[in-house]
Assembly symmetry: C2
Homo-oligomer: 336 residues x 2
Amino acid sequence: MIKVGINGYGTIGKRVADAVSCQDDMEVIGVVKTKPDFISKMATKRYKIYTTKTENIAEFKNKGLNVEGTIEDLLDGIDVVVDASPEGVGAKNKVMYEKHNVKAVFQGGEKHELTGISFNAQSNYRDALNKDYVRVVSCNTTGLCRTLKTIDDVAGIKKVNATIIRRATDPGDPKKGPINAIEPVLKIPSHHGIDVKTVLYDLDISTMAVKVPTTLMHLHAITVDMIDKKTDLDDIVRALDKARRIILINGSDGLTSTAEIMEYARDLGRRRGDLFEIAVWKDGMNIRDGVLYYYQAIHQESDVVPENIDAIRAIMGMEDAEKSMDLTDKSLGIMK
Amino acid sequence: MIKVGINGYGTIGKRVADAVSCQDDMEVIGVVKTKPDFISKMATKRYKIYTTKTENIAEFKNKGLNVEGTIEDLLDGIDVVVDASPEGVGAKNKVMYEKHNVKAVFQGGEKHELTGISFNAQSNYRDALNKDYVRVVSCNTTGLCRTLKTIDDVAGIKKVNATIIRRATDPGDPKKGPINAIEPVLKIPSHHGIDVKTVLYDLDISTMAVKVPTTLMHLHAITVDMIDKKTDLDDIVRALDKARRIILINGSDGLTSTAEIMEYARDLGRRRGDLFEIAVWKDGMNIRDGVLYYYQAIHQESDVVPENIDAIRAIMGMEDAEKSMDLTDKSLGIMK
């Protein structure tokens, strides 16, 4: 039984905690929260809570919430910590994990250099085997890796250009914008393509990105110059249909936007209405002169959750990537 | 004096009417409205109003609005009609224009085949000389033509891929969506690239498009594979800076999104806060391996207005494109 702690119980942390709970070979020893807010209250119903420093404990007690101790206490009782703290904070936490001799899975908000190994289960699981520290790439990078790896395997990729149309913030956040504007990422290429290369090492990819006023999903408009110019749409569709953690959808079925995709996900009955899979429009694809064009939608809150589970198994030494992904996908009800 | 009528007084029609009024060589004889709403009320303060059929006249009178007659009465007294009626309605109106022997400028909502000549002043003014019917291309196509023609002249274009991030509807429309979703145009290539080729005849261009919850502007993320691989950013910047109806802006000046661009436009003091120019981010451009990447923002309500004015002059026989554009730009306060 792999003993797991979750440091940070926000959008990603709470989902990873629930996913770890579903695994037969793992258990959640505790989760770390800073403040005794409604999220902590919910967390106490499922998990033991730890906090970042001794001074916080009284604050939790005042609100009637039981705290087991500080994060350092938690670290003494676990094999792996999933660091789901805010962007950049993971880098500071690493010193503490080293001190306690605990392996760690970081998120895409941290720099690649923090761990030297960035992770996407379908692309490079074995490169993380038995490592002490690994970084699961961001939601956008995860989505790009899943489909591009599949396409590269079937057709070979000469060059990718993609435009990332990003949601402004997550549905539960009332603070950030824009609420009526389109905001381009002026640094070209945007970091997304550069990040893909931390997983698909030899891929030639450039990305541009814009932020738009929506909260549900990101959407990618992708152009792939293929090496094998004889590849036809059927080859691509067949490969994507077979690949893990990708679903093919059709606008003709009424799935015309990210709104309908998330409505579909809620109807699936999963906790929080999550969609772990990358949704690719089958009837929104074309090939012209050996160039493949397609759209995909990314549920930014959840697509990295199965990757975190596989990353835990990889650093804990499970050699068989397919077996890990089988276990993860079955436990989370991932469709295929 | 060119006698002009405007059929349709919505987003485009009212702006074209005002722009025609600013020209020394044109006058607005009348505008055509269907319903006696607040827009008609505003219109009566500046223009003579005609309506689509005799039955409507009483309705206008009941609201205390004076109507000069029907559109057929208007057509008998003008040289050119600018058809700014809803998408597809222009095609039906053409029969009437033919009957009255009146030249017509249609908008981008109509098909290219309706006129056989599609128009962008900087790209193909002379092809419209003395024609009876011409179609000014849509706001997005106009924006693409302006910058791509400029880039083609300086570097040569091998191939363009662009993603069009479209505003959901115009600011004054409370009815359409989406309000929280991204909606891709599943037909690839989207019509935008195809439409550019009705003006830049030999350009190899493919476009993808998504609709997003904003009303202010469209935004394009554009990738240009250049023929002259020695072209550097300075060459491109210099050419765009010199070209008409394009302005270079900088994120570093606080113009980080379409919201700030439109705030800037409102501060310019033009009627309705319009921005006739295409805004290109100077600090949001890059060249990698002979491929140029840039972003541009399009004020969908107004960028075609100067094109309508030049289209009128072209079909009325003014041979000098530069002279027409000089007159238009000066009268509308277009920046350079």
